[in-house]
């Protein structure tokens, strides 16, 4: 593991494309956070600034970050894996004594590292923003909803494992990125339309993106007077038809882990069986 980590670090930390994408990821995320916190729409009982208080900040920032997972982190993995095939350095790895399993495991380590990077970024941005906007700080409200960070971590892994699969299938960066994005934006959504409503929520994109759903902005931005005594939002956007029906989070998590396993097994099978 240590050997694989060292090898992946030499390859990635000296890769300018990787560094540029990661810096862009960092800057754009912070810019989004900064710009959104500067917007202050307030009416009695409602203020957008409340979205940045603990614990509201966690679902909001993980939702922000989920778009970056799709756009930046997935693409990073496609580029780093695709390079191994286009530069034919996968051959260098194998002929010098790395097994095909280790080759893929190296990419797995990279996925974990990049997911951890995303997690740390949200945690730091969320903590700082939350401290600034929360008036009555307590550890209880700080940690409330932080489970969503782990959910985000799973989501980042899932996006990147799907990216890994596309990269091992197509072995070409441009084609893999195009198909990866099209799959999210068009292919799966269109395909879902032709299937019964009952099975639609169980497709990979639906399940994975559903891990960090669109926050209920109105609920997050509302005063506590708008929340019922049992803590539930009185504004039920699903019943209002504003939000699509979602499957329960724990089901999404289990399905996401299953999809991650499926993507990894499929990538492993391709790397194992195909000529390099």
């Amino acid at each position: 593991m240590k050997k694989l980590l060292q090898i992946e670090l030499i390859k990635t930390l000296n890769n300018s494309t990787f560094k540029i994408i990661l810096i862009l990821h960092f800057l754009l995320f912070l810019l989004l956070v900064y710009v959104s916190t500067r917007i202050d729409l307030s009416v009695p009982g409602f203020s957008t600034q409340k979205m940045f208080m603990f614990p509201n900040v966690w679902p909001l920032f993980t939702w922000y970050a989920s778009w970056f997972n799709l756009l930046f982190l997935g693409i990073i993995i496609i580029i780093l894996t695709g390079n191994e095939f286009s530069f034919k350095t996968s051959r260098l790895m194998i002929t010098n004594g790395l097994s095909r399993n280790e080759f893929l495991l190296g990419k797995g380590i990279l996925i974990l590292l990049i997911s951890a990077w995303g997690l740390i970024l949200i945690f730091l941005a969320g903590s700082v923003t939350g401290f600034i906007f929360t008036e009555d700080f307590s550890l209880i409200i700080f940690f409330e909803n932080t489970y969503i960070l782990l959910v985000y971590f799973v989501q980042a892994i899932a996006y990147m494992c799907l990216a890994l699969l596309f990269s091992t299938i197509f072995k070409n960066n441009a084609l893999s990125i195009m198909i990866y994005l099209l799959y999210f934006i068009m292919i799966e959504p269109i395909f879902r339309l032709f299937l019964p409503k009952l099975v639609r929520p169980y497709f990979p994109v639906k399940v994975i993106s559903g891990l960090t759903p669109v926050p209920e902005f109105l609920s997050l931005a509302s005063d506590k007077t708008f929340i019922s005594t049992n803590g539930q939002s009185q504004l039920d956007f699903e019943s209002m038809g504003i939000l699509p029906e979602a499957i329960p989070l724990h089901t999404s998590l289990i399905l996401s882990v299953l999809y991650i396993s499926l993507f990894v097994i499929a990538s492993w099978y391709i790397v194992k069986k195909k000529d390099l």
Binding site: K3, N15, R91, N96
Partner: protein, 295 residues
């Protein structure tokens, strides 16, 4: 002699095309083994299979008497087809990755860069190198960790005459240190000057194999023209005269078995009633012999 590589019935098919077909080969410790053949004869495919890059359709191979395992490849240095490195990394960083995989000390990197005259460029990006330098880096990577076996596919590709001579010298040096070297080439001169053994491939099949001096220097080609070529052809085969023989219209082209001479052949033909219109003994150049074999 202990066996380093044993290939048995190796076959690789791409669709209906056989890149290699039922290829078997044994390479012993200390051999400098050339795999010689024209372009498309299956040299690179063979080496790609035995180095784990591609899968065989059929057949098997053993490295060091065992089924291949990633740890076997740590004992082998290889350069297959073209040198494949990360273009954005420096020479040192690329070799650092190789040394990590092979679990060899990174101090060896400077040593192999020195041997291949690349030490001055160790901090240059791979992408900035000339073709010849890239090839030399491929050789440096193969030599990293002092492997027992070197598998080199067209190692002098892109090198100028000076580079060619340097690489040849390097291979001979490694061979004299007792290493086993497997060298694929279509350059006869390269094989002639470096190899102790050779296998000649054509269309994925081994046409012949053995010691270089026996295969490429021994036999003169004899051309006979006679009106009774069919009968003579049969008689020569029956009499066990020839090592190789083929017939085209009235002309028979053959190489004699080692215990036979052209004079004896002439006498045999005369005594058996064959009138030879022409008999020619051609001292074969290395090139003509090779072309004759792969024809």
């Amino acid at each position: 002699m202990s066996e380093i590589l044993k290939i048995t019935g190796l076959t690789k098919k791409y669709g209906s095309l056989f890149a290699i077909d039922d290829l078997s080969l044994n390479i012993d410790k200390g051999d400098v083994f050339g795999i010689l053949g024209p372009n498309g004869s299956g040299k690179t495919t063979t080496l790609s299979i035995v180095t784990g890059i591609i899968h065989a359709t059929r057949g098997s191979f053993l490295w060091f008497g065992e089924k291949p395992h990633p740890s076997s490849y740590q004992r082998i240095g290889s350069l297959i087809e073209t040198p494949n490195f990360y273009p954005y990394l420096s020479l040192y960083q690329n070799l650092h990755i190789v040394s990590k995989i092979k679990e060899t000390p990174s101090k060896d990197i400077n040593h192999v860069l020195g041997l291949t005259n690349l030490l001055a460029r160790k901090h240059s990006q791979f992408i900035t190198l000339s073709l010849g330098m890239k090839q030399r880096l491929g050789i440096a990577a193969a030599m990293l960790g002092n492997p027992e076996v070197l598998v080199l596919d067209e190692p002098t590709n892109g090198l100028d005459p000076e580079g060619f001579a340097e690489v040849r010298e390097l291979i001979l040096q490694e061979a004299s240190a007792g290493k086993t070297i497997i060298l694929a080439s279509h350059v006869l001169d390269e094989v002639e000057k470096v190899c102790s053994h050779v296998a000649i491939l054509k269309k994925g099949k081994i046409l012949t194999s053995g010691k270089v001096h026996e295969l490429l220097y021994k036999d003169d080609l004899i051309k006979i023209t006679t009106k009774k070529s069919d009968e003579l052809y049969e008689a020569l085969i029956r009499g066990g005269w020839t090592k190789t023989i083929e017939k085209e219209e009235n002309e028979i082209r053959l190489t004699l078995n080692s215990d036979k001479t052209p004079g004896a052949l002439n006498e045999f033909a005369f005594k058996n009633g064959f009138i030879l219109d022409k008999i020619e003994v051609l001292k074969q150049s290395l090139e003509s012999q090779f072309l004759e074999i792969v024809k």
